[in-house]
C-alpha cells in the first residue's frame, strides 16, 4: 500500500495533555490514512484513552495540533468531532436495550415524514436503511428485533452500523472484542474489514494481541503517555509489541 500521495484523514502533531501536575500525554505525533486499520496498544494508564478522548472531542489537548482531512480542527464537544466525521464505538456500545436495532442505529437522527405541522417517524425507511447497513456489514441482524435479545456480535454490528449512517471517515473502536465469544470476535473482525473495504479509517484500541495482528495494518504502542512505536504490522511481532508495552524494550 503506498501512501505517499494520500492525505492522512487524521494527523496529530505534538499532542500533549496535562491534568494539573500529571502529564497524561507528551508530544504524540501520528497519522491515520483512509482505509487503514491502526491498532493502538498500551497498558492501563499508558495514555490510550486520553488520546482517544482528545480525538473524540471529550478533552481539549494542552499542546499540539490536530488536523482532520488536511484542515486544522478544534473540538469543544463530542458533537463537533462527529460533525466532521469521527465516530466512536464505545466499549459498552452505548445502546438502548429496550429499543429495536433500527431505532438504535437512528437514535438522535431519526428519519421523519412531515404531515402538515407534525413530523412523525418514518419507521419503514429507517428499517430499510438499517437492513441495508447490516447487509453491508454482513451481519445477521433484523432491524425490528430488540437489542435486549441480541448476541454480542449483533450488538457490535448495531453500534458500527450507527457509524456508517453518518458516513464517518474515522471510526475509533474501544475494546470491541473484550467481552464476547470467540465466534463473535470473528464477526467483529469481519466488520472491521468491511469498514476498511469502504475506505474508512479504523483505530482499534485493544488489549488482545491476536485481534490486533489479525486486522491491523499498523500498530502504535503507547507507554507512559508517549508513543514508543509506530510500525507496519508485518515488520513487528507480538513478542516485540509485548516488550514495548511492558517497557522491556524502550522504543522501536
Amino acid at each position: 500500500m503506498t501512501k505517499a500521495d494520500a492525505t492522512p484523514v487524521l494527523e496529530l502533531t505534538g499532542i500533549g495533555k496535562e491534568f494539573g501536575a500529571i502529564r497524561a500525554l507528551h508530544d504524540v505525533d501520528m497519522q491515520v490514512f483512509p482505509g487503514e486499520v491502526v491498532g493502538l496498544m498500551g497498558d492501563n494508564g499508558a495514555g490510550k484513552s486520553t488520546l482517544v478522548k482528545i480525538i473524540a472531542g471529550n478533552f481539549r489537548p494542552t499542546h499540539g495540533e490536530m488536523r482532520f482531512a488536511g484542515s486544522a480542527v478544534h473540538f469543544n464537544r463530542p458533537v463537533d468531532a462527529r460533525a466532521v466525521g469521527i465516530e466512536v464505538v464505545y466499549q459498552d456500545l452505548a445502546l438502548s436495550d429496550n429499543l429495536t436495532a433500527a431505532a438504535n442505529v437512528f437514535l438522535g437522527r431519526e428519519l421523519k415524514r412531515k404531515f402538515g405541522p407534525i413530523a412523525l417517524l418514518d419507521h419503514k425507511a429507517m428499517a430499510a436503511r438499517a437492513l441495508e447497513l447490516f447487509g453491508e456489514l454482513r451481519s445477521e441482524t433484523r432491524p425490528d428485533d430488540l437489542v435486549k435479545q441480541m448476541s454480542g456480535g449483533q450488538r457490535q454490528a448495531v453500534a458500527i452500523a450507527r457509524t456508517r449512517l453518518s458516513n464517518a471517515r474515522l471510526v475509533m473502536m474501544d475494546e470491541p472484542t473484550a467481552a464476547i465469544s470467540v465466534r463473535q470476535v470473528e464477526q467483529v473482525l469481519g466488520l472491521i474489514h468491511r469498514l476498511k473495504e469502504q475506505g474508512v479509517a479504523v483505530m482499534l484500541i485493544s488489549h488482545r494481541m491476536p485481534d490486533v495482528f489479525a486486522v491491523c495494518d499498523r500498530v502504535i504502542v503507547m507507554r507512559r503517555g508517549e508513543k514508543r512505536a509506530d510500525k507496519p504490522i508485518h515488520e513487528t511481532s507480538p513478542e516485540e509489541v509485548t516488550a514495548l508495552i511492558t517497557g522491556a524494550k524502550e522504543a522501536a
Binding site: 445502546l95 438522535g108 441495508e132 445477521e140
Partner: protein, 356 residues
C-alpha cells in the same frame, strides 16, 4: 458510500421472534389485560348490577379521575424517573382555578374593573373567566413541573427526593393560599365549568372522552415521534442517550412538565365533579396513580410503559373497588387487595421474563 448489496442477508442461525413472544403479548400489560377480562367475566356472574349502564358509566367516570394523571406519570416512569408530587399538584391546580374564577367574578375585587352594568368586565365575555382560570390552574402546574425538571435534569438531584419535596411544597402552598379552607368554582362561568368537567356527551362522561383523546395522542407521541423515541432511549440507557447526542436535559424537563400538567388537568376535572376544591383534596393520590401505572406494566427501572398499560391499570383498580362495593365487602379490604395486586403483577412479569 454504501455499496450495492451483493446478496441479501440470510438469517440462517438467527430465528425470528414469534408473534406471541413480542409486542403486547410478551408484556406485563398483556397479562394484566387478560386478568382484567377474567375479572370482568367473574364480576358479571357475581353481581347482576355490574354490567348495567349506570354502573358502567360510574366505572368509566371513576377511573378517568386518576387515569389522566397516570398517563402523565407514565411518561416520567418511562424515562426512569418518578413523580410523587402529582396528588398535591391536582389539589393546587384545582384550587387556583376555582379561586381565580371566583375572584374574577366577584364585584369589588381589586383585580378587576367594573363595567357599567354592575358586572365585571371579564364577565361580559362568556367563557373568558373560565379560560383565564383554567390557564392559571395549568400555569401553576407548568411552573411546578419546570422546577421539578430543572432540579432533576440540570442540578442532578434524585427524582424521588425532588418530587417528595415538591409534594410537600405544593400541598403547603395550597393551604397558604386558601388558609386551609376549600374553594368553590363560582361566578357566571361556573355552569360552563361543570359542563366541561363533569358533564356527559350522549351518555359518555366527558372525563372519559378527554382520557381517550389524551391516551391516543400519547400513543402517537411515544411511538411515532422522535421525542417519544428519546423518552424510551433515556429510560433504556441514559448514558447511551447522551452519547448519541439526544438532548437529555430538555427531554427530562419536558416529561416532568407533561406530568405536572396532566396532574393539574386531572385535579381541575376532579374539582368539577366534587363541586369544590378542598385543601386536602387528592391526598395520597400519587400512590394510586403510581400503583396503576406499575400494575399496567410501566417499569420503575425505566424504558417500558405506555398509555394502554396506564389505562388498564386504572381500570383494574376501579373494577376491583367497584366489585368489592357490589359484593358488599368492607371497603377497607380494597387497599389491602390493591397492594396484593401490585406485587402479583410485578411477580408474574418477573416469572415470565425468567422463563424466556
Amino acid at each position: 458510500m454504501a455499496m450495492p448489496m451483493e446478496s441479501p442477508i440470510s438469517f440462517t442461525n438467527v430465528g425470528k421472534i414469534r408473534w406471541w413472544q413480542r409486542g403486547i403479548f410478551a408484556s406485563q400489560t398483556g397479562y394484566v389485560l387478560l386478568a382484567l377480562a377474567v375479572l370482568l367475566v367473574i364480576m358479571h356472574f357475581a353481581s347482576p348490577y355490574f354490567f348495567t349502564e349506570g354502573n358502567m358509566q360510574n366505572v368509566a367516570k371513576n377511573f378517568s379521575f386518576i387515569a389522566i394523571a397516570t398517563l402523565g406519570v407514565t411518561f416520567v416512569i418511562i424515562t426512569g424517573g418518578i413523580d410523587l408530587s402529582v396528588g398535591s399538584m391536582m389539589c393546587f391546580s384545582a384550587m387556583i382555578t376555582s379561586m381565580v374564577m371566583t375572584e374574577l367574578s366577584a364585584p369589588g375585587s381589586p383585580l378587576v374593573h367594573m363595567a357599567a352594568d354592575g358586572k365585571t368586565v371579564l364577565a361580559n365575555v362568556p367563557g373568558l373567566i373560565l379560560l383565564i382560570s383554567l390557564l392559571a390552574g395549568l400555569g401553576v402546574a407548568l411552573i411546578a413541573g419546570l422546577v421539578n425538571g430543572f432540579c432533576i435534569a440540570m442540578l442532578g438531584l434524585s427524582p424521588f427526593v425532588t418530587t417528595l419535596g415538591m409534594l410537600s411544597i405544593v400541598r403547603g402552598l395550597g393551604y397558604v393560599v386558601s388558609n386551609g379552607r376549600g374553594s368553590f368554582p363560582g361566578g357566571p362561568d361556573a355552569d360552563y365549568f361543570y359542563a366541561l368537567t363533569s358533564g356527559d356527551v350522549l351518555g359518555v362522561p366527558v372525563p372519559f372522552i378527554y382520557l381517550v383523546i389524551l391516551a391516543l395522542t400519547m400513543a402517537v407521541v411515544l411511538h411515532h415521534t422522535s421525542f417519544g423515541r428519546h423518552v424510551f432511549a433515556l429510560g433504556g440507557n441514559e448514558k447511551a442517550a447522551e452519547l448519541t447526542g439526544i438532548p437529555v436535559v430538555r427531554v427530562k424537563i419536558e416529561v416532568y412538565v407533561i406530568c405536572a400538567l396532566a396532574a393539574g388537568l386531572q385535579g381541575i376535572i376532579i374539582s368539577g365533579w366534587l363541586g369544590s376544591a378542598p385543601a386536602n383534596m387528592a391526598t395520597s393520590y400519587e400512590l394510586n396513580v403510581i400503583a396503576a401505572a406499575v400494575i399496567g406494566g410501566a417499569n420503575l427501572a425505566g424504558g417500558i410503559g405506555g398509555p394502554l398499560g396506564a389505562i388498564v391499570g386504572c381500570v383494574l383498580l376501579e373494577v376491583i373497588r367497584n366489585g368489592l362495593v357490589l359484593a358488599q365487602v368492607s371497603s377497607y379490604w380494597q387497599q389491602t387487595l390493591v397492594g396484593v395486586i401490585i406485587i402479583l403483577a410485578v411477580l408474574v412479569d418477573r416469572i415470565r421474563s425468567r422463563m424466556t
